[in-house]
Symmetry: D2
Subunit: 258 residues, 4 copies
């Protein structure tokens, strides 16, 4: 493990003395507690700067849109875990977050990267429409998933995406990322042979990148949002337990085929 | 696992149709996204009701006060985990949350329970001061920890606790829980032979319970707060890696004694 | 975190140089690899000593008996997690282990502690039968669970427990811990008004403590055993996915009650 | 989550009735407990077949070789987690396993895939030496890591790899996978400009694939092995705590750069 030396270890996030705690060059107790929201603090921790008004608006809207969607697999996993190990709430929250992976909640960041890649090719390689058609066709040809599109339940339209994009229009923040998202949506029927709705994980990076949220921080948005939802489900589980009954429903449906 | 039957499975948190998502009887897209903060949404998910103004103020203040305190053990564990497994941000966040246990961050709930227990004995078993002296002496006698007091770094005073309690005085929300906390603080020097500062995990339950936050939800406050901080540290780790160097510092300090 | 000083940091487990690795005072490459089983190595790591023949036999038997029991909640949680986050097998194994808690798999250690406590009171406080009747009645009176007894599926008899206890008889290793376990089983019908079977988590501590396995290490037995089973289920999940379908079975059974 | 239907849910691993438990078509209590080792059971669970003698030998040797290597980052993360949350041993084991990722312990499977890919190109695309030189040069050119080679401490030679490969020679099991591993080692100095040692994660897939262990199951080998080591370290932590002191060593080395 001879990587790095103690003298090179640095952080820009925070430090503390017996008398004070400094976060991103601000005094936690004098400048932050009681004056900023958790969302503001999240933005400050991530970027070193408090959010502007539209950044706060869209970060809150994105977090609220992705936090809760009922008894999804990660919530069920967390509730089963809590039923079996009620001594450790943190373990059940952790089990739920472990299901925020590439298939289910990780596509916000993938979609953000896709937008950035497409924008980097315009106008040198063609108009936005031409670049989108070419690149999405190539993606389809190599059978790669299209991040930010499609949903097993919201097959016609994901109402969360519709709302976030409408907000971007209302507040005049829709920029090149919303534009590229809509260009992809327009190209999808021709390339895939059917319409696929923009989903919440497509809309979040579009509206957040357009207000200056950093691409690398996108992956943290669903994780923070889901921690909120997990705590609420686990509070309900502690009062109205269903974790084992959920497992029983699954177990009853299984056939052993030896 | 024959516990419960599918017909008994219920949740009060949310449901969804292809066209809409309902959270705590509100339409997520029409009534919540763009209109409430993450903190409001957390309160709604937990309790079924949006926060009042003072509830929002103290929930945000509590979350901000407990979210970040530098390279604490759980942050180091998360950064080491991310260095070894960068393919899974969710795993590193989970590893960090697993260290939010009874010794380090779980004492908010313990302190809240202690306050409730002491208040339940007054005035039947004596004045608040009498009950506190009797019960804290008993706790000391059986060598149980005193939740909400003491800190390895902030040995004279935890400035976060001071700030939260000052806010409760300023906003006129200080009630019986702040009163019992201060009664314990006053009794400590006599019982323990030295002063112990009220720490942030003592102040959080006092100010939150006094604005009507449910006791059972206290344990979720540090977990949500730390998820925010973990995401920020892991973003920094992805850009300025120190996880392996931190492990090297620890490893170098170890002696094998066979 | 000013607890401990670097100069005090010690481990007795292992150390390494560029040329060799030393585990419990043995050269890993010259004395262990190719010469001992994983079970032997587990015992050596835990206790500093390789197992005797009967220790190996009963440690393997215990691990094999507790490793696999079909689509239990923790396996379902792990398979759902893997379906959502297939990039991180380690995350799905971790999610499964997080469900090895006090309610489901943690009772081996609790049962072991119960046996030790009962044995410590004989013969001073009475015969084994008297102590058992008195203490188990008290436990029943305070509504505490009886670790090591009862199973939702194996309601008459847990065949794993039967097998482990028969092995202890066959090999002549049954000692005071098996004796106390059987004394509890004999007292249960009178105290609880019905027979409760000895379960696998009651038999494991009995047979292991009787061959000298340390009480404090009992909690690790189900964790190691389940890691084996989790890896096998996740390999099956990667080839024949059922994680999302299990979640669908649970989700379909849920009613939203607003 | 409308993926799959309950009627399609199947497993080949195990099932249970009130009277018996069936694992891979064997009666757990009559045919397995007391008759097979944990390693045998692991192989049976994974593949549906008990191991042959050489499979058992090399699976045990591989597990023992990768289980323990001192205070590596994942062990430190686990010990810090346990110090903060001693109520949940399973959480600390989970935190440790979460660090078994692509950078540190995941390379066994990557190396196995590399071997399979190289072997699939011979002899059509050239001799083994030609294919290796061409493909490893290409891998180097695109700056991809070379799985199975190099170690921060064992810079000249990883003694675990040497031992495993010597065993394959002694037992006459060295086949095409050991051959391709050695061909890569021979090509490395020319391609990389310096020798890199075969590490334990290169030797494990070579010796295991040569005795018929399935490629897809390789990733589980370090996970099971590390669960054993984690339990031992956490038992030591419960008796001789160093988790917080390790964190203190790291924290002391950090500079805040605002």
């Amino acid at each position: 493990m001879q990587i790095g030396k103690p003298s090179q270890l640095r952080t820009s996030i925070s430090t503390a003395t017996p008398d004070s705690i400094t976060v991103r060059n601000r005094d936690l107790c004098k400048e932050l507690i009681g004056q900023v929201s958790l969302t503001d603090f999240f933005c400050l921790l991530l970027t070193g700067q408090p959010p502007t008004n539209v950044q706060r608006l869209f970060l809150d809207a994105s977090l609220v849109s992705i936090a809760e969607h009922g008894l999804v697999p990660s919530i069920q996993a967390a509730r089963m875990t809590f039923a079996a190990a009620p001594e450790a709430l943190q373990g059940a929250v952790a089990a739920g977050l472990l299901g925020c992976g590439s298939v289910v909640l990780g596509s916000s960041e993938e979609a953000g990267k896709l937008f950035a890649g497409l924008l980097a090719k315009t106008p040198q390689e063609g108009t936005l429409e031409q670049v989108v058609e070419h690149e999405i066709s190539a993606l389809r040809a190599r059978r790669a998933p299209l991040p930010g599109f499609g949903h097993p339940l919201h097959q016609q339209e994901d109402p969360r995406a519709t709302r976030l994009l409408a907000m971007a229009d209302e507040h005049g923040t829709a920029g090149e990322n919303v534009r590229v998202l809509r260009a992809i949506a327009a190209a999808v029927p021709k390339i895939y042979g059917r319409a696929l709705p923009i989903n919440v994980s497509g809309a979040i990076p579009a509206v957040l990148l357009d207000v200056g949220f950093p691409l690398k921080a996108l992956k943290g948005v669903p994780l923070v949002a889901r921690s909120v939802s997990l705590v609420a489900h686990l509070l309900e589980e502690s009062m109205e337990p269903i974790g084992f009954a959920l497992a029983h429903a699954g177990e009853s449906a299984i056939e052993y085929v030896g």
